[in-house]
């Protein structure tokens, strides 16, 4: 994005707030504070990209992903890298899938309803106005009528359906499952984005995960960040935070970061930590801050994201078009569930290297079976789940003994699916297989995977059991706030980015009101 001509601040100036991270959490915070006239600086570990330089080539497109090594542990080790973390001005919204269902009210009351997991300390009704503001500002496309929430309205018509979409609609109809066009954070008509310029209608290129070259997809560098810069925020790319300094009162007084190998110290009156579910707890553990609860790094969650692929007699070539244009929420609380919570389903298009990786890791393929499966690539279409994940004491992020290039210990993340996740996975596989078969698949293949990095700095009502309060403010360090997916106390079935943006707005406004 254009950063020339933006207002800048010196390291010695005590700015009103530093925001670490420019993704779905940090960008709305930065824009909200800047709009109110605060002097704010965002520190982004990755570079500032020109979207026209993005490439659909999967091997090289990882430029926009967080590829610094993380260590994984547990029975279901998370595949980081291209799957779930971004790096660069815009954060993970550079590579996200733009699939934007809203959190369901039942998901925020999971413990009250099921006795499992935890409740959110925020009422759904309080979150929704923030979500609506986000949807309105960034522009979300969706169906005219949303079967699971008839009151909902989307700004733009839904993205074009591809062969996978038609397949999933056909299968769901045959089974009596309601399905419709998915809410998607992209333009389906030309849109003038305030301070960012024209975002042309999506061309169905299919490369959302490799970075949107046209600006059709919502990413922070085409929405909230230009707004922030227009109101006087500074964004410093290539700035990796390595430390946080406190004053005598235990308040953050400066943020230490490396830029071009040189250590800097930005003085500030407040700090928003928005580095995501891995980097936020890593920095807190590294600095030893905000952890009197012992909860930093705990309750790491990953959505169940198992896929079922069908081989069809027709050429599907599902790399064409928006990859996940159909949704069903009928599975949010299945009648025959033997688990707490639920899942949603989406149609799937995929690009070949990503598919092959999942076939190896999630399907165990190699040799002629793998080559044969890829030779059948153009006949494949799939359905994928996004399933609730319960917080667990066993799933924890800690610091490893190994250090990264900046001298910070690498994150070590243990994750194992629990009984609830496994029961849900079995249910989802049955449903997805039925859909794909009802749509005419001649054979099916199940590929296990997880998605999103959630939890690790949970919000709650008590300083004993949570890192931040319901507003996102640290119980221990009064001018430290966290706004990203690390504060989620439970995973929530919906994909996280929309809720992260909403929480960003909300925390920023709570900060302003404090």
């Amino acid at each position: 994005m254009r950063l020339d001509g933006m207002r800048t601040y010196s390291d010695d100036e005590i700015v009103d707030a530093v925001v670490i991270g420019t993704g779905a959490g940090g960008a709305p915070v930065l824009a909200t504070l800047a709009e109110r006239g605060l002097r704010v600086v965002a520190l982004e570990a990755g570079p500032n990209f020109d979207p026209h330089e993005f490439t659909p080539d999967e091997n090289q497109a990882v430029d926009i992903n967080w590829m610094e090594e993380r260590l994984t542990d547990g029975a279901n080790p998370t595949a980081f890298g291209a799957n779930n973390s971004g790096r660069g001005v815009g954060g993970s919204t550079l590579h996200w899938g733009a699939f934007t269902p809203r959190p369901d009210p039942r998901d925020l009351k999971l413990h009250s309803d099921s006795g499992k997991g935890v409740d959110w300390p925020i009422e759904h009704a309080e979150l929704i106005p923030y979500i609506e503001r986000v949807e309105h500002f960034v522009g979300i496309a969706g169906p005219e009528s949303y079967p699971w929430d008839p009151s909902r309205k989307y700004l733009m018509p839904p993205p074009a359906r591809n062969a996978s979409s038609d397949m999933m609609m056909r299968g769901c109809e045959a089974l009596g499952i309601r399905a419709t066009d998915a809410p998607a954070a992209l333009t389906t008509v030309d849109r003038h984005q305030e301070h960012a310029g024209l975002r042309p209608a999506c061309s169905s290129c299919g490369s959302c995960h490799q970075g949107c070259r046209s600006g059709a997809k919502v990413s922070m560098d085409t929405t909230y960040l230009p707004l922030a810069v227009a109101h006087g925020a500074e964004i410093r790319p290539d700035s990796m935070v390595t430390g946080i300094e406190l004053d005598g009162q235990g308040r953050v007084s400066a943020v230490v970061y490396l830029r071009d190998g040189v250590e800097h110290r930005q003085r500030c009156a407040a700090l928003f930590l928005c580095a995501g579910g891995v980097e936020t707890p890593r920095l807190l553990l590294h600095t030893g801050l905000a952890n009197s609860s012992g909860q930093v790094g705990r309750n790491y969650m990953a959505h169940g994201a198992t896929q079922v692929w069908g081989t069809f007699e027709t050429e599907m070539r599902s790399h064409r078009g928006y990859p996940s244009s159909i949704i069903t929420e009928d599975t949010l609380r299945p009648d025959d569930a033997d688990f707490a919570g639920g899942y949603l389903l989406q149609s799937l298009g995929v690009v070949p290297l990503t598919l092959a990786t999942t076939m190896v890791r999630g399907g165990g393929l190699w040799g002629r079976e793998l080559v044969g499966a890829m030779d059948g690539y153009r006949y494949l279409a799939g359905v994928g789940m996004n399933g609730e994940c319960l917080p667990s004491d066993d799933n924890v992020l800690t610091l490893s003994d190994e250090k990264d290039a900046y001298g910070i210990p690498k994150a070590r993340v243990a994750f194992s699916s629990g009984e609830n996740e496994e029961a849900m996975d079995r249910h989802a596989i049955r449903t997805m297989t039925a859909i794909v078969e009802a749509a005419g698949a001649t054979s099916t293949r199940v590929l296990a995977r997880t998605a999103h990095t959630i939890g690790t700095a949970r919000m709650g009502d008590s300083a004993d059991s949570a890192v931040v309060d319901a507003d996102g403010r640290s119980f221990d360090v009064p001018n430290l706030w966290i706004a990203d997916n690390s504060v989620f106390p439970s995973a929530v079935v919906a994909n996280p980015a929309l809720a992260i943006m909403a929480l960003g707005l909300r925390s920023a406004e709570k900060f302003l009101a404090a």
Binding site: Q60, P77, D166, S204, T357, V371
Partner: protein, 459 residues
Amino acid sequence: MSTPTIFCLHALGSSRLEFEPLAERLGDDFEVVAFDLPGFGEANRAEGLSVDEMVDGVIRKIRRHGSTRFLLAGHSMGGKVATLVAARILDGSAGLFGLTGVVLLAASPPSPEPMSDESRAQMLGWAATGRIDHDAARTFVDDNVGAPLGAAADERALADVQRSRAEAWTAWFERGSREDRSDEVGTLDVPAVILAGGADGPLGEDGQRRLNLPVYGRADVVVLEGAGHLLPLERPDEVAAAVRTLWREHAGRGPEVPVDVGRVIASGRTNTRTRRILARRALADRPSYEPRALTPAQLETLRAVAARVVPQTGEPIDLAARVDSQLHRGHSDGWRNVALPPDPEAYRLALTALAGFGDLSEHARDETLTAIVDGSWTPPAGTLTADQMTLWFEDCRVDLSRTWLAHPATMARVGFDGFANGGDVQRIQGFHLLAADTREGWEPLPHPTHDHDTQEAAR
């Protein structure tokens, strides 16, 4: 396999006719296409004489020709043009795809051509009257051969010098030969052969080794003893043999990218960066690749593993060498299982454990890999544990299969054309036909493999 094309760019004072002897010798296996550069041969023009204009003109002609599998040959002045064209193909900006190798014949380098002030002045003097006469041509040819040419070749050489436009002649000596284009060229990792005349002057062997060899990271230098500067006329047999060797041992190796796929990569539907990536990735592997992260023995073992993990038919991609190169560059996929040592170390230990794998029968190899997958294979002490082997092999399969699929020939094979979903414009073209069994007019047709086993597995 399609017939490869060799595009030939002549020397100063010459014309496309100088490549006729070469065409006679290569015509059965190559399509030899030679162009007259502006101001020479039948291109009797006094415009387009700058190096940049020559480069643009050659790019346009190759595009019009349409080949997607070609060598580029350049003689003397044409060598500088060839190097600049090659650089622009490999950086994606030429809008071309399919360069497989470069043949340099006593070539002028991308840096200023070594030339004494005296000979520059002498040759500029010949064109001062606006026309190069017979005596000057005679001197020029005599000064540039190691031994007298045959009568027909000599006559051709003399005639070409005399029909050169004086403006073109002057432009090269005053400007083109002096331009320093080495920064924009950098180094080109394309298969190449550099031919030098043993009796040539400043562009002889020393000049080639000093000025062109550093540009071409993987070139062989061939010195033609006794030859002067006019190699295509003096030594067409040896030049033809060098071209065939380059093709057989280097440039022509590896899987072929189908013509329609190559044209889509070349087209405005593919953005420049993606074209650059694919152009470089499609280059043939080095047959004598020296591993940089692994030992030669470990690399051989990895090749044997790769042959089972991703069985390739026809001309294979050297997946093991490409993975070694990634390991050497510190390529990371963003994570590693805590039970494994860092990637290069895990590879070294696992491949040491698998020493001798390549000597096993095909059946025994697959049994070994199956046992590794289920954790029942016992590695030798001092390498990895059985569980670590399982984890490593999962990573290894991902690395090998991604490397295989990233090659444009594999993309063609599996029917993926999403690399061409938009060019260097904000309103990228994308896809308009999205339904099953639909295909837009620009899209390549399927290029399925004829390997029956994998076709069975696909079904």
